[in-house]
């Protein structure tokens, strides 16, 4: 077996499998940067997957499906925001409840939609010219949907916004020290609502990708734990949108390789590799320089009450 087949296969699959992870992670990064942990990613993704499929199937266009997925994700996230920001409920428990509720509701609504292929799936785009380049073409420009490239673009944009604009400063200061942000006239609640909602939109699209593009059909529980990988990736990428790209595609590559390498290595060992790797990388970064150190936003998980420290 020649090395190009390995390279092309691994990279193109890493991208395709990494897309929902990337979208979900970018969203969760924003939510957590503003100080709100949302463990409901799995729930938002499955709701997005269901809504995406149902709408795309009914209206006959994948675009509507993805839009619906984004909308449903946003609604679910706003609910989380309402509970945790306005009612100051425990974020971990609210997120767990959202996952439980989302999986249940999507399964309930999805009954009767199984066993039918999506009539209007989102296809792969062959980028003109570039897709004909040997090796690079099939590796990057032939088997990807538009969401791969949009996701990459989004990561860059979100990085710029977070680290190079006033909005980004506002978001980060709300996540680090809401009291300070508040005293500077930033509305902590508004920033958190917006960031959590953005997280929901992106998680919803990530879920929609699964049912509209990745495997265009609806089946019960089709997110199969991806939401939890997103939670891990968020920390793994040190709350940095650019590192999220690397993280998501690295997970994608490992996942794909776990099947590719099955003939040589025990599959259980390969399947636990991404998880073990996440811990190892974090541990190794503990040894390294401060820049590398994954440091959580200061006020992560803490509800903000004006007048309290």
């Amino acid at each position: 077996m020649d090395w190009t087949s390995w390279l092309v296969g691994t990279v193109s699959r890493a991208l395709a499998f990494g897309v929902p992870l990337l979208w979900g992670t970018l969203g969760e990064i924003y939510a957590e940067r503003s100080g709100v942990v949302n463990l409901g990613v799995e729930g938002m993704m499955i709701l997005g997957a269901y809504a995406g499929f149902a709408v795309a199937q009914t209206l006959g266009h994948p675009g509507w499906g993805l839009l619906a997925a984004a909308g449903v994700g946003a609604l679910a996230a706003l609910w989380h925001a309402f509970l945790t920001v306005t009612l100051r409920a425990n974020q971990y428990v609210s997120g767990l409840a959202l996952t439980l509720f989302g999986l249940g509701l999507a399964g309930l609504l999805g009954r009767g939609w199984e066993g039918r292929p999506l009539r209007a799936p989102l296809g792969a785009v062959a980028v003109p010219v570039l897709s004909d380049v040997p090796v690079l073409g099939p590796m990057l420009f032939r088997d990807q949907t538009i969401l791969t490239y949009l996701g990459l673009l989004l990561a860059v944009v979100l990085w710029v916004v977070l680290f190079r604009t006033r909005w980004g400063i506002a978001i980060r200061s709300v996540g680090e020290s809401p009291a300070t942000a508040d005293s500077l006239g930033i509305s902590v609640a508004r920033v958190r609502y917006l960031c959590v909602a953005l997280g929901g939109v992106l998680a919803g699209v990530g879920g929609g990708y699964l049912s509209v593009a990745y495997r265009p059909a609806w089946t019960e529980g089709m997110t199969a734990g991806m939401g939890w990988i997103v939670i891990a990736l968020t920390i793994f990428s040190a709350w940095d949108p650019l590192q999220a790209i690397w993280g998501a595609f690295f997970f994608g590559a490992l996942y794909h390789l776990s099947f590719r390498l099955q003939a040589y290595v025990s599959p259980e060992l390969l399947k636990m590799m991404p998880y073990a790797f996440a811990i190892l990388v974090l541990a190794a970064s503990g040894f390294g320089r401060a820049r590398w150190r994954a440091r959580a936003p200061g006020a992560l998980g803490v509800p903000y009450v004006r007048g309290e420290r």
Binding site: F17, G110, A217, T219, Y255, A263
Partner: protein, 381 residues
Amino acid sequence: MRKLAIFVMALALVGVLGLGAQRIKAGFIYVGPIGDYGWTHAHDVARRIVDGKYDWLETVYIESVPEGEVETYIDQLVRQGCNVIFTTSFGFMDGTLAAAERYPNVIFAHASGFKRAPNMATYMADFYQVYYLNGLMAGALTKTGKIGYVGAFPIPELKRHISAFTIGVREVNPTATVHVRWIYEWYNPAAAKEATEALIAEGCDVFAFTEDSPTVVQVAAERKFPSFAHYSPMYAFAPDYVVSGQLVHWEEIYDDFLLKIHQGVYTTKNLAHVDYWWLLAQGAAELGAEMGMPINPKYVAPLKGYVVNHPQFGRISVYDLVFLRYNQFADPGITFDPFEGPIYDRKGVLRVPAGMWMSYESLITMEWAAAGIVGPWPGEP
């Protein structure tokens, strides 16, 4: 006169009781959700068919039951008045057996297991013959000589299927190989997709699988590769690329079993040796990706055009060979078996001596891999 009245009343009472006993409330316990479009879905389709057929029959079901919880649910079904209970996962075996001892007046039937009791039968609709037929077609359709197979778990049932499939492949294409990947889950679309992609990267160009979703069919079709469906009708998922497949008809078994209870043939005392092992001949398995369509018309021409020199039948097209074998399986006397010796495993060990067939016992405990299988094979002897 009074004696007569008592006698008539007693007779009437017996009649009422008899009628009462003939009414059946059957409970079905499933391991997965009925929307899985695989194993559980197929059992539920069958349940609805028999439920609609008899007015003396009422059915209820419980889906997504964890293996360790089966006894709890059996208790609840019994409390609700079920007098026949089907449990449809191997992992339910010991729980069902314990419940059968606890409720001697309830009839139990357990799918895919091997433990029985006076009030507990076992049943299984098996596919290895159909997999063999699919293998014949796959062998004819591959251009690279590599066929991909996505398996759920390396258990005897799948090993039997993959070996039968490979024996079919090799019968018409002696150098072809079957490449196997396991996903270690009955149902995980993402894993099935990446496993298929890994096989595509390895050069496979025809696909078959045993897991509970149409993923492999969809992924293969995206790359314009033919594939074989599994368990449920999947023709609609890729009308141009699904060649054939296996379809199950659990209703044949349920119908027979329930009718015999209704007629009083099966009771809570005589099931210790009742074991349904139903194949093509009994109608429990069907060849095809859509009911009533054994081979996708689009693939008839290529299969007719692929002619082999068969040691037994001389020059014959694979299309004709498939139907010849099909008729041998469908014959009530069954005149052929895929595992007809001599069969060597991939390590060169003679597993079935010339002219012999495998016993039922050795079929359901099969661990070896037929020659031509490539890839990991946990538990290989």
